[in-house]
Amino acid sequence: MAISRYSRPTSVAQACALLSDAPGRTALLTGGTDMAVSLRSGRDVDLMVDLKRIPELHTLGWSDEGELTIGACMTLREICESTPIRERFPALTEAAEVVGSYQIRCRATITGNLCNASPCADTIPPLLALGARIRITDPSGEREEPLDGFITHVKKTRLKPSEVVTAVIVPPPPPGSRNAFMRIQRLRGHDLALVNAAATFNPKTRAFTLAVGSVAPTPLLIPDLDDACPSGATPDEVGERLAERTLPHISPIDDVRASAEYRRDMTALLCRRLARRLMGNP
């Protein structure tokens, strides 16, 4: 049998208690769009904890400083439809808009996309580039961790069996800064990314952040971009510098979706296109 026990707590505390008491294989259920596929492929779960009936996980909060807290069960549709998110974090909106079909986005959640830890998850590069943190709750309490480093390998995270990711926190963007997401896919309909990338640019400090996905076992936040954008550099020059700094970090593979060569070249292209978009006239 696929699921031995299914439980539907109404508070985070209950969820944590269930998880810490449970022997065997536990699984957290939010949107279920990946979970249902893995169950169909034969995944066995001893305890399935459905988080969707926990009201506090369905909230979108803004602090006075403009920090965004996205509850774990917020769907990608809800994120796409949020005007303040689109205004401040277009990279996140643009990424959420290309995950699956409309039907998928009505169910899939942002924490599901994170915790499934697919190398090609679209919402991870923007969250990395935006410096997002995740809130993790376990029976002993709650803490925040940077998203960078949370995903350790293909489909692997640092989340322990007794822990729940309850929210994603996106710090306020510096005033005047811009961010964007782009990707390469096989056709215009719903598809998985062959390469995806998100970047932020602060015209005042000329600081770039950049994250790429589908080109390594985990999505990557590219380090050492401090001098990527010297003053006076054209967008194309900056794009080239971003690509130069990015390519040494990636390790794309040949697989059913694309060759390593295509992925590498498209990574460089997305660097150039993101630089053009973010440095062009708004």
């Binding site: 049998m1 696929a2 699921i3 031995s4 026990r5 299914y6 539907r8 259920l29 279920g32 769009t33 249902a36 596929v37 169950l39 169909r40 034969g42 399935m48 459905d50 969707k52 549709r77 699956g100 079909s101 409309y102 039907q103 998928i104 009505c106 169910r107 390469i184 096989r186 056709l187 215009r188 309909g189 719903h190 598809d191 998985l192 062959l194 059913v256 979706r257 694309a258 060759s259 060569e261 295509y262 070249d265 498209m266 292209l269 296109r273």
Partner: protein
């Protein structure tokens, strides 16, 4: 047949009890609102909402197409949002409000969206339609005034393989528009004559309503569920199979392996074991099957079967297949049965069929040439992707009778092949085919039926149903074969072809199936619609260790026209001449002969007019005049280009292909048409209704074409393939209608005391010429005429019509000369594309298509065939391919990595033109046009790509990566 055990497997009472106690403990009680009514049920936690809706709530309008949320066939509205019910657990829906397609029908009336889908010709096979209805409803609820882009985005999560999406988008847009002016209303439909009009699809209502029942939906009393276990290896010898664990599982009723039968099945070659026996020849081949009380148990039992194999090096390519001392895929090829005189396998090799065409003297032709060009082309295997996967129910009845209910294109072929395999008389086999959710050639032959029958027999005759998962549909069920081709052309300086030498090597996979006939048909069509005086063509159908090839819309023609039509453009470019002019210089004209020696006549049709029509539509002449300047020009990373391509195809079928039609009059003067050609979406039944109504002089609304073919009741038809059904079934319908009228006239002649030839039948009434005031309604005659004193004459009117292909001959084994084709349909495409040279993505901006259909029977449905075929062709052109790993394993057998076009992937502009040169034998002069729209779509895109970028690509598909890498590795780029 050596039945190992006659009885189902026994289990101990203790096992069974503990099993059920445990199952009961896992269940959750849920309450939900379904279409406005509250339902409380107990479900195990892994049951999906889709399983709940279809299995527990018995609402079969919602379909399963993939099980992984890619295809959208299972879309329902949950708390106001459209969702894939296959991805939601039933327990998650506790307390939720669910609406399925059944909720759209209020007081027996279909909704505005459903009506518009009928009116716009937006349903064909209908399997995906309920999902579209729900996606569209959710869209209009959240956004009453969507743009076309917003409609496409909202519908992109729903796959449709038939319609090409444009009619669906049009229908939803029309409903949205009408909402501002009082709601949607259907346009008026024209009356008689119906032929040439756009009579609404006869099966439209059932399909949009979700009430059309497919085999997919059927459950019979006592029915068991079957699953198969397939080989993970491409080539292996089976050493040992251990089924003991599976047999011991509670709920398992039958386990079938190759030990249980040595029978073989096959269409033209009987080369395939019902279940692999000793040898597996492709990854995905069934090696065992289980029938059990539930699908879950059957699946678990399959997993419990242990198979020990000796893995062998697979034959992957045609080159490996043809190599000296290659492993033989079929060591006993010479012992098989095959259709003699038509196919020529070579025992001791991997050649399943070698078709030769020899005309004129190619050596002399090449001597006469000014230039000789040689190219090689490649096509990958691709899948039909009918939205309903293969599914069959078999009942092995006491006394040896067999009943099969199957999602198949050709009930009589299923019956015949089944009879041949098992040696059971035809009269003891009954094959029923209800609505079929798409075929495209993939359901033409026999597939699951023998395996399911054996399971039923082993399970004591209980009905057994097996439905392929989408993965099995890809890796177990046959596909379109791959093709490698080599073409050498001699031409004069001004582009006249003097000699053509072609070698087509088909990677047909493990079994011959239709593959041998594809190799044959694509040979006699293999030079394109051109007059070639000197031609040497060899078409070799090769066995390899891959999933095997079968019929696929176009039957080899898309593949060979990729070679032929790219070749024409490459030569024209090499000669510096206009490819339009070059084609017109060589195109078949009356008095010419084809490469098999068939005389081309006026009645054949006008390929030249098709080509000229599309060339004019896309502005080819002006474009070509500037092409030397614009070729390879890149602006802002984009290059634009136009292209043209010709095509032809004729039905590929035996010379004796025939069909029959029965028309039965009912008391109220309505009629039922009984046929055994299957309308699995292509719309033939509507065409037959129009033809019959016109012939019988009754309103088309009174014609019912019976949707369920049943070999016990409906008359013989060879197969529903090859775009032949409207032509052959149409002719037989005319004859059957005339037979009905003759019966009416004979009785009326006695009643009116006039000669039968003086009797007029018109407008459902009968009278004697010149005595119109005495006229009587048909209804007085169709069940027999009764005189005032009670005496009666005549009787129920039942008309019979038939048609058998005329004038066809077998092809000469050495030269291929002969007359293979009932009727040729010619066509052409013109296209404009934009290439993103930085990513390699091709966007088709406009495609214009023209076909000489002889006579348009139903314009809306002709357009529907063209739009749907063009979009399916774009799938082959731009995305679709099977990918195999080095061990010959199929690595993309799901919709995650086998991508088909969605509503967002269609060209902004699609235009259809019909040339009407009557075919002398066609009903009202009509020809078939079901397959043709797909043919040459890749060719025209490839030609436009070369014109846009200067880069020639020889291998399909033209996906972004392939195009990007071709551009990257060519030195032929001009930046501006």
């Amino acid at each position: 047949m050596n039945p190992r055990t006659a009885l189902p497997i026994h289990h101990t009472r203790k096992d069974t009890e503990s099993h059920f106690q445990h199952e009961a403990a896992r269940r959750h009680r849920i309450t939900l609102t379904i279409n406005g009514e509250t339902a409380t049920l107990e479900v195990p936690p892994e049951r999906t909402l889709l399983q709940l809706i279809r299995g527990d709530l018995h609402l079969s309008g919602t379909k399963e197409g993939c099980g992984i949320g890619e295809c959208g066939a299972c879309t329902v509205i949950m708390d106001g949002q459209p969702i894939n019910s296959c991805l939601v657990l039933a327990v998650e829906a506790d307390g939720c409000d669910i609406r399925t397609v059944e909720s759209e029908i209020v007081d027996g009336q279909i909704s505005d969206i459903q009506q518009a889908l009928i009116d716009f010709g937006a349903t064909q096979c209908g399997f995906c339609t309920p999902g579209f209805v729900m996606s569209a409803r959710a869209l209009l609820e959240r956004n009453p005034d969507p743009s076309r882009e917003e409609i496409a985005e909202a519908l992109a999560g729903n796959y449709c393989r038939c319609t090409g999406y444009e009619p669906i988008i049009d229908a939803v847009a029309a409903v949205a528009r009408a909402a501002k002016s009082g709601g949607y209303r259907s346009p008026e439909k024209a009356g008689a004559p119906y032929v040439g009009g756009d009579t609404a699809r006869v099966d439209g209502l059932e399909k949009v309503a979700g009430s059309a029942i497919y085999v997919h939906d059927m459950v019979l009393p006592g029915m068991l569920h079957a699953r198969m276990k397939v080989s993970p290896h491409a080539s292996a010898r089976i050493v040992r199979i251990d089924t003991s664990k599976a047999e011991a599982m509670p709920g398992v009723r039958a386990v079938l392996t190759g030990r249980d039968t040595d029978l073989k099945q096959g269409l033209y070659m009987r080369d395939k074991d019902v279940v692999a026996r000793d040898v597996v020849r492709y990854q995905g081949e069934p090696v065992a099957a289980v029938a059990a009380d539930s699908e879950e148990i059957a699946r678990a039992a399959c997993e419990a079967i242990a198979i020990e194999c000796e893995v062998r090096e697979p034959i992957r390519t045609v080159q490996e297949a043809l190599a000296e001392e290659a492993n033989l895929v079929h060591e006993n090829l010479g012992d098989y049965h095959w259709m003699q005189g038509v196919f020529f396998p070579k025992p001791g090799t991997n050649i399943a069929h070698h078709q030769k065409i020899r005309k004129g003297d190619v050596d002399q032709g090449f001597k006469e040439a000014d230039r000789i060009f040689e190219f090689e082309f490649e096509n990958p295997p691709v899948q039909h992707v009918a939205m309903e996967t293969h599914t069959a129910i078999a009942i092995a009845k006491p006394g040896g009778d067999v009943e099969l209910i199957t999602s198949a294109q050709s009930p009589f072929t299923v019956r015949n092949l089944f009879s041949v395999t098992f040696g059971i008389p035809h009269s003891k086999i009954r094959v029923k085919v209800p609505y079929v959710g798409g075929g495209f050639g993939g359901k033409a032959g026999i597939h699951l039926e023998p395996m399911v029958y054996l399971l039923s027999k082993m399970a004591g005759g209980r009905p057994v149903k097996m439905t392929c998962t989408r993965e099995e549909e890809f890796h177990t069920i046959p596909s379109r074969a791959g093709l490698s081709s080599h073409i050498k052309t001699g031409v004069t300086r001004d582009g006249k072809i003097t000699a053509l030498e072609i070698r087509y090597l088909w990677n047909a996979g493990a079994y011959a199936d239709y593959g041998v006939n594809v190799g044959r048909a694509a040979a006699y069509s293999g030079a394109g619609p051109y007059c070639i005086d000197n031609c040497k063509l060899d078409s070799l159908v090769c066995y390899t260790n891959r999933v095997f090839g079968t019929a696929f819309r176009g039957f080899g023609h898309l593949e060979v026209m990729w070679t032929v039509e790219r070749n024409m453009d490459l030569i024209a470019r090499g000669l510096g001449i206009d490819p339009l002019e070059m084609r017109l210089k060589n195109v078949l004209r009356p008095g010419d002969t084809t490469i098999t020696g068939e005389l081309f006549t006026e009645g054949h049709g006008r390929p030249d007019l098709c080509l000229e029509r599309v060339a004019e539509e896309i502005g080819w002449k002006e474009y070509f005049a500037n092409l030397p300047k614009t070729r390879g020009e890149i602006t802002d990373g984009k290059a634009r280009g136009k292209g043209i391509a010709l095509l032809h195809k004729a039905p590929a079928m035996p010379t004796f292909t025939s069909c029959a039609v029965v028309i039965k009059f009912n008391e109220d003067c309505s009629v039922n048409i009984l046929v055994s050609g299957v309308d699995y979406g292509q719309g033939t039944y509507t065409a037959l209704a129009q033809i019959a109504a016109d012939e019988l002089r009754i309103p088309v609304e009174q014609v019912r074409v019976t949707f369920e073919c049943d070999t016990d009741f409906t008359p013989y038809d060879w197969q529903t393939v090859a775009s032949r059904f409207t032509v052959m079934g149409g002719n037989a319908t005319i004859q059957a209608a005339q037979d009905c009228l003759r019966q009416i006239r004979d009785v009326a002649a006695q009643v009116f005391r006039a000669p039968p030839e003086m009797i007029i039948c018109e407008n459902s009434e009968v009278w004697v010429k010149g005595r119109e005031e005495e006229k009587l309604p048909y209804s007085k005659f169709v069940m027999g005429y009764t005189y005032p004193n009670g005496n009666s004459i005549g009787g129920p009117v039942v008309g019979r019509g038939r048609y058998i292909a005329q004038g066809l001959t077998n092809l000469d084994p050495e030269t291929g000369q002969g007359r293979p084709a009932l009727n040729w349909t010619y066509g052409a495409h013109g296209v404009e594309i934009e290439v993103d040279t930085e990513t390699g993505e091709i966007e088709v901006l406009e495609i214009a298509s023209a076909f000489d259909v002889g006579r348009v029977i139903n314009e809306q449905q002709c357009r529907g065939q063209v739009i749907g075929g063009v979009v399916q062709g774009l799938g082959s052109a731009l995305n679709e391919k099977f990918v195999f790993d080095p061990d010959g394993r199929f690595v993309n057998p799901t919709f995650t990595d086998y991508k088909i076009p969605t509503a967002k992937d269609i060209p902004a502009v699609m235009k259809q033109f019909f040339i009407e040169t009557p075919h002398p034998q066609g009903p009202h002069g009509a020809r078939g046009v079901a397959e043709h729209p797909m043919v040459s779509v890749p060719s025209v895109v490839g030609n436009a790509l070369a014109n846009a970028t200067g880069v020639e690509v020889f291998q399909l598909p033209l996906d972004p990566e392939a195009v990007y890498l071709a551009l990257k590795h060519s030195g032929d780029r001009k930046e501006t």
